[in-house]
Structure formats: C-alpha cells, structure tokens
C-alpha cells in the first residue's frame, strides 16, 4: 500500500504544469475558470499549441499522432489541464470518436477521417439521445433503411452538444426492429452539411447554448460510413463511454473551483472582515474540500486497481454521482460568496463603459445553473444508483 506515483508520471505532471504556465494564454484560462466560453477560433488556436506535443489528442496511440498514454497518464492530463484552466478541446471528436475509429474503423475511414480531426477540419457531435431515448438509450428510434449502397436516415436527435458548431455527426441508428433492442442499433457517420439535416438550438438555464435538436429527414448516407458491423453499435457505445468513465469525477476542474472557493473564503466580505469568520460558511467549504479529496482518492484507487489488473466495480458510478454533486456544491458556493455581484446575467450587462462587476464574477450564476446538467446527462444519478444496486443485490 502506498501513495507514490511512478517517476514517469510525476515527471509528466511537472512537464504539464510547466507547459501550461508557459503556453496557456491567460485569457483562455480566465474564461475557462470563470465559466465563460471560448470561440471556435480560440479552441483551434489552443489545439494548435498542443499539437507539437501530440497532446491535442490525449487518448490516441502514438502511431496515430497521439502521446500513447496509459490510463494513469491520461488521468494526470485531465487533472492538470482542468486545474490549469485549459479549455476542453473538441472533446467529442478527439476523445470520443477518435478512439472509436482507431479501434473499430475501416482502413479507409481511418485514413480519411483521423487526419481531419487532427487538423480541426472536422468538428463532430454525438447523436445518441432522442426525444424518447434518454436514460433508456436502447429505445432510440432514428431509422436507417438500406437502399442499395446507401442507408436512408430519418429521425431526431436531442440534447446534441456542439451540433451548432459541428459539420459532422455520428449517430446511433436503428437498422433493425427484430430481436433485442440493443442488437438492432448501428453506428453511422453522417455529414451535416447537406439538405435534410436541420440543427435547432436549445437554450438551457442562463441562456446557455451548448445543446441542440438535430433533425435528419430522408438523408442518404453511404454504407461505407457504417462503423463496425450493422447492428454492432452497442459494443462500440460501451467502448466509447468506457473511455471517459473516470472523466465524470472532474477532478482537475473541481480542484480549480475548490481553489477559487478557498481564495474567496479568505478574502474580505462586504463587512470588511474575512468571510472565513462566518463559521457556517467556513464549515461548508471545508466539507466540500474533504468530499473532493475523498473523490480524488477514490478515483486514484480505481485507477490503481485497474492498472494492477483488478476490474473496476461500481466505484465508477460512485465517481460519476459524486463528481457532479461536488461541482454543483462548489459552483453554488462561488455564486453565493459573490453575493449581489454573483447574481448578474452575463448576457444582459450594459454595453460600453467600465465593467459593472469584475469579469470573473459575471458568469457565476449562469455557471451554477448550467452545472445542474451534470447529474442528469451521461447516465443520471438515478441510473448510476440502479447500477450500484444491481451489483449489491446480484440482480
């Protein structure tokens, strides 16, 4: 039993810290840490800065242009990039689709599509959820009917993140209604820049735009755009979700929030006295900090067990539930400690003149309400509890 990280991993942590300190534009970090959004151009710029190291595709093996990291290195990356306030990259393309194509794609798909992800030419979004298929994903209805060398695709995807800035979408589509629901689902790549594909924004609390509705009507998609075999999407989906299963801890981002919370606690409040003199507030902060420590070490425990060959149990669900809850608690504390200045709507501030509130406070309320999604998406907290209970009860 020990808490020691390998020298190689420790060296990577130092290298990452030094790199972020030197190369991460402060404005990008400020925006990311304050809950503000970066433009697509800014994302592409940050992407290009990481390219030299292969860190723009942190999950990819070396032969495809990535760093070839193992699970521990990937996790250190998540931790340090979150902590530094590094913008999250074109996550859907690089972390979700990229590894799927590398694992399941045809040589032609790999040759054509991977370079376009590496160069930021393609921005992908993920077409999974539908109006009648949220937590119950296997209930999805988008149809793909074979017609010669094409599929004809019709249906609606919902809650599609980044669809409004993407040119391509990978969809789970129903290619068969026979047999178990899961067995009739296929993984299909669809070009969005064609007639029949309509993206409508869905504004979430605080007038945030990150999710959309994507309607696809009688769109012809070549059969060569199928990933894996027809009806084989369920295993691909499990692989894809498995790649980000420890992401739900949000350890790096949560630590960055916790650092902000602690800093504001030590600052003077409106009465000219340090906020930490408010015993109830100080206690809440300390409890969230200990929650975060416990989550962090639970994540390391799962990682260390996996690396030593022990298969993960439902601890992964524990991490998903707690990661979301802790971020919600931290952003709530940030909003509350900002008091009146934390209540403003960032999209309804006066134009021109000096800022009414400090830039780092403008998005506090918006950010807090935006984080409600964490316990809803990616398998809601209730689904995670079902998973845990099934294991405890062997049912």
């Amino acid at each position: 039993m020990d808490l020691v990280l390998d020298d190689k991993v420790k060296a990577l942590r130092e290298e990452l810290r030094a790199f972020f300190a030197k190369n991460l534009p402060p404005e990008y970090a400020r925006k990311t840490l304050a809950g503000d959004k970066l433009s697509k151009d800014e994302h592409i710029h940050w992407h290009s800065l990481l390219k030299e190291k292969g860190w723009h595709v942190p999950l990819w093996p070396k032969e495809y242009g990535g760093p070839g990291w193992g699970p521990m290195e990937r996790f250190i990356w998540e931790e340090e990039s979150g902590l530094a306030g590094a913008p999250r990259l074109n996550h859907v393309s690089q972390d979700l689709l990229g590894p799927v194509l590398i694992e399941f794609g045809t040589p032609e798909q790999k040759a054509e599509l991977l370079p376009r992800i590496l160069s930021s030419e393609d921005w992908w979004c993920q077409g999974f959820s539908e109006p009648q298929a949220g937590s119950d994903l296997a209930n999805l209805q988008m149809r793909a009917v074979r017609d010669g060398d094409d599929y004809i695709v019709t249906g609606t995807k919902l809650w599609t993140s980044y669809a409004h800035v993407s040119n391509k979408i990978f969809c789970l589509v129903r290619t068969s209604t026979d047999g178990p629901k899961q067995a009739g689902i296929s993984f299909l790549l669809v070009d969005m820049e064609q007639p029949g594909v309509t993206v409508s924004p869905i504004y979430t609390l605080g007038h945030m735009l990150s999710v959309n509705e994507v309607q696809i009507e009688d769109v012809r998609v070549p059969v060569s755009n199928l990933v894996g075999r027809e009806g084989g999407a369920w295993d691909i989906t499990k692989f894809l979700l498995g790649n980000e299963r420890l992401m739900g801890a949000w350890i790096g981002v949560n630590m960055a929030f916790a650092r902000q919370v602690r800093a504001r606690l030590e600052e003077n409040g409106p009465n000219g006295r340090p906020r930490s003199e408010n015993a109830a507030l100080a206690q809440r902060v300390a409890e969230v900090e200990t929650d975060l420590l416990a989550l962090r070490y639970t994540t390391y425990r799962v990682l260390a067990d996996e690396l030593s060959g022990k298969s993960a149990g439902s601890e992964v669900s524990v991490i998903k539930v707690r990661g979301g809850e802790i971020m919600q608690a931290l952003t709530e504390l940030l909003m509350e400690m900002a008091e009146a200045e934390g209540m403003v709507h960032p999209y309804h501030m006066p134009e021109g003149g000096p800022p009414v509130v400090p830039a780092e406070l403008e998005h506090m309320a918006q950010q807090f309400f935006d984080k409600r999604k964490l316990t809803i998406y990616g398998g809601s907290s209730e689904i995670q509890r079902n998973i845990i209970a099934r294991r405890l009860l062997n049912v």
């Binding site: 039993m1 020990d2 808490l3 020691v4 990280l5 420790k10 942590r13 521990m72 902590l83 630590m255 916790a258 650092r259 602690r262 030590e266 930490s276 015993a279 100080a282 206690q283 902060v285 300390a286 409890e287 900090e289 200990t290 929650d291 975060l292 420590l293 416990a294 989550l295 070490y297 639970t298 390391y300 425990r301 990682l303 260390a304 067990d305 030593s308 022990k310 439902s314 601890e315 669900s317 524990v318 539930v321 707690r322 209730e382 995670q384 509890r385 079902n386 845990i388 209970a389 099934r390 405890l392 009860l393 049912v395």
Partner: protein, 384 residues
C-alpha cells in the same frame, strides 16, 4: 500508487479475521461483557498472537512494518465489533509512550504493553470525548521536587481496565490555551486515585476518574512540562485514523448484510430488494462507504509522513467517515425494520458503535473546522 494491503498486511488481516470468527461472534461478545476474567484472557491471547506488537515498529520493540499494520487490525475489529481496548492501549497509549518517554523507561513501558500486561487510558480532561486537551479540568501544581495533581473526568475510556492513566493536567496558563498542559503517568493504585467503572453505550469499558491531591515525582512527567498538547494531538491523530478504519470494516459488513436481508424479506408479495427506493438507499450506503474508505486508507498511509499532512488527512478522513458512518448505520437499521433495533442482531450494535465513532476524538464539525484551518492559505488543497 496502490490502495491494496501488501502480502504481510493481508496475512495479518486473515489471521485477525480467523481468530475473531472463532472467538468473537455476537453471543461470545455478550458473554465477554459479563465476564472481566474472560475479557482479560482474550486480551492475553491477542498479545500472544502479536496483535498488540503490530502497533509498534521493530525499533520500538514491536513487529510492525509501518503504522498501517495496526489499521488493518482495527478494520477487522470493526467488522467483528470487538470491544477490546486496542485503540486506547496499543494505539493511543502506545503512541504517547513512544513520543513522551525515552530510554529504559520507554522500552519497559512498551514491552509490558506488547506483552498484554499493561493497559493504558488517556484522561485528557474536560467533558469532551478525548479531544481538546487544552480544555482539561485536571490541574497540577509544583510541590517541592514533585507535583500535586487533582481533578475529575467523568468518562475515561478504558479507565476501568487501565493500570496506568496518562493524565493531561494544566500546569500553567488557563483553560483553552495551547501552552501549559503537561502529561503525567498516574498509576491506578496510587494514593488519592479513585475510579468507578462503567460502560459506554457501545459496550466499551470506561471509568470515572477522580484525582485527589495525587503526589507525583518528576519521573511521572511524560514529554515536556507545559508542552504536552502536541503529544496528545499526535496520539489522537493515530486514534482518529484507527477508528476511521474500524468504521470501514463495520460499514463494509453492513452493506452486504442489508442487501441480503432485503433479498429474503418479503412484504406485499415481493422481496424488499425489488423496491427501487430501497435499492437507491443501498446504493447511497455504498457511495458513502466507498468515498470514506478511500480517505481512511489515504489517512492510514499518511500516518508515518509529514505531521501536518498526517493531521490534515486524519481530519479529512474523520469528516468523511463520520458522515458516512452515521448514514450507513442508520440506514442499515432502517432497512432491517424491527430486527434492526433488536439486540439479537449485530446490525444495531454496529449502528451504535458507528455513532460513537462519529463522536470520538471530535465530530464532523470539529474536524471540518480543523481541516479548514490546516488547509488555509498556507497549505494548498492540491498536492502532488
């Protein structure tokens, strides 16, 4: 990074588990509580097995490779609801001897503890359950070449079996000040020392301790005069991490026991385990236990390192474990229904002990404040 017991710790774990499975089911536990001679005999057997020595490293006269070994013992004690005073004699008392004595006096005192011949109790004073010795109500005054100690403490844990008390008395300054607390070794049979035995609600032994003008020499002083508080705090950090690991053993037993009960108990035509509201309750018990377990293990691994980090991790673990233990114990009882509150089942006994653990050595509120103070501007939450 590795959160699993190593081979030696695993062997220790298995040995303790086998021993307690044989000797310490609920029925034999009940008998022990009525039979002081049997309790003493069990303690001797534990000493022979080397369990007490597992709380001391080789250079201290014991067999431990690290402080984690004693935490392994405590984890199994939690599973088997052991009421033996390992925590008070071997871990807290032992640590005070290690830190406060030197030379032959230290070696002899530790040797008799390891042999199972000496029992210790910390009387840190005040109404608190063994934290904040700066609030002690014991006082000691210089009297020629020696000291006169007086005071009363209502509940001294393991006070019923101790042959030596470690008394925190104020020798300078006033209540609440960190300086001016001195530790004294007080023999139970000394003049002016009286005790009345009792048990706490979790069936552990304790005593009221009254010291009436007890005359002590300088050789009874443990650690520096007026500087005893840091020793108590160090010893209690070991005690905190010990009860955290004890609680993990208890909680990791309660979850499958509760799951099994809900699978077999049929109401309204279905096993209780079919009701989603109960499934989610058990999932929450699991979530609470897993996060607490990570902190208990991290705190165990931090014991032998930097003292500030040890204290920080001990407090963080105590906050997590305290909250988790109360929740898991409470829900285990609730899901067992009437059986949960019956003394015939071990479930309720675990619940009681978990609640006492939350109170011991400072509760969640106390330790979140302490963690907050240690995590303040000078110390980063984030370490490598």
């Amino acid at each position: 990074m590795d959160f699993n017991y190593d081979d030696n710790q695993r062997m220790l774990f298995d040995m303790v588990d086998r021993f307690l499975t044989d000797k310490h089911d609920l029925a034999s536990r009940e008998k022990l509580l009525k039979d002081p001679a049997a309790e003493a005999a069990l303690w001797s057997e534990m000493a022979e097995l080397g369990l007490i020595g597992a709380a001391f490293t080789e250079d201290q006269g014991g067999f431990a490779n690290s402080s984690v070994d004693a935490m392994v013992v405590m984890e199994r004690f939690g599973r088997h609801l052991v009421t033996q005073p390992y925590l008070y004699t071997a871990i807290i008392g032992g640590r005070l001897l290690i830190e406060g004595l030197a030379g032959d006096a230290r070696d002899e005192a530790i040797a008799s503890v390891i042999a199972g011949e000496s029992q210790l109790a910390l009387a840190a004073g005040s109404q608190h359950l063994l934290h904040s010795a700066q609030d002690t109500s014991f006082t000691a005054e210089r009297d020629g070449a020696g000291w006169t100690v007086r005071g009363r403490m209502p509940v001294v844990l393991n006070g019923d079996r101790a042959d030596r008390f470690i008394v925190a008395a104020r020798t300078a300054g006033s209540v609440g000040e960190r300086d001016g607390v001195t530790l004294f070794l007080v023999e139970t049979d000394g003049e002016g020392v009286s005790r009345r035995s009792l048990r706490t609600i979790d069936a552990f032994g304790a005593a009221e301790l009254v010291l009436e003008n007890v005359a002590l020499g300088d050789d009874a002083v443990l650690g520096p005069v007026d500087g005893g508080l840091p020793l108590v705090e160090t010893a209690l950090d070991y005690g905190i991490v010990a009860v955290c690991n004890e609680a993990i053993g208890s909680m990791e037993y309660l979850i499958p026991a509760t799951a099994e009960y809900t699978r077999t108990r049929v109401q309204y035509g279905a096993p209780l385990s079919k009701f989603q509201v109960l499934q989610h309750r058990m999932a929450d018990m699991y979530i609470q236990t897993q996060t607490a377990k990570s902190m208990a293990l991290v705190a165990a691994m931090s014991l032998d390192g930097d003292p500030i980090e040890r204290a920080r991790m001990a407090s963080a673990a105590k906050v997590q474990v305290g909250r988790s233990a109360k929740f898991v114990g409470y829900q285990a009882v609730q899901l067992h229904g009437g059986m949960g509150v019956s003394e015939e089942l071990d479930i309720g006994h675990h619940y009681i002990r978990l609640n006492v653990i939350n109170q011991l050595f400072g509760d969640t509120g106390f330790h979140s404040r302490r963690f907050g103070a240690l995590a303040g501007p000078t110390t980063q939450l984030v370490t490598a």
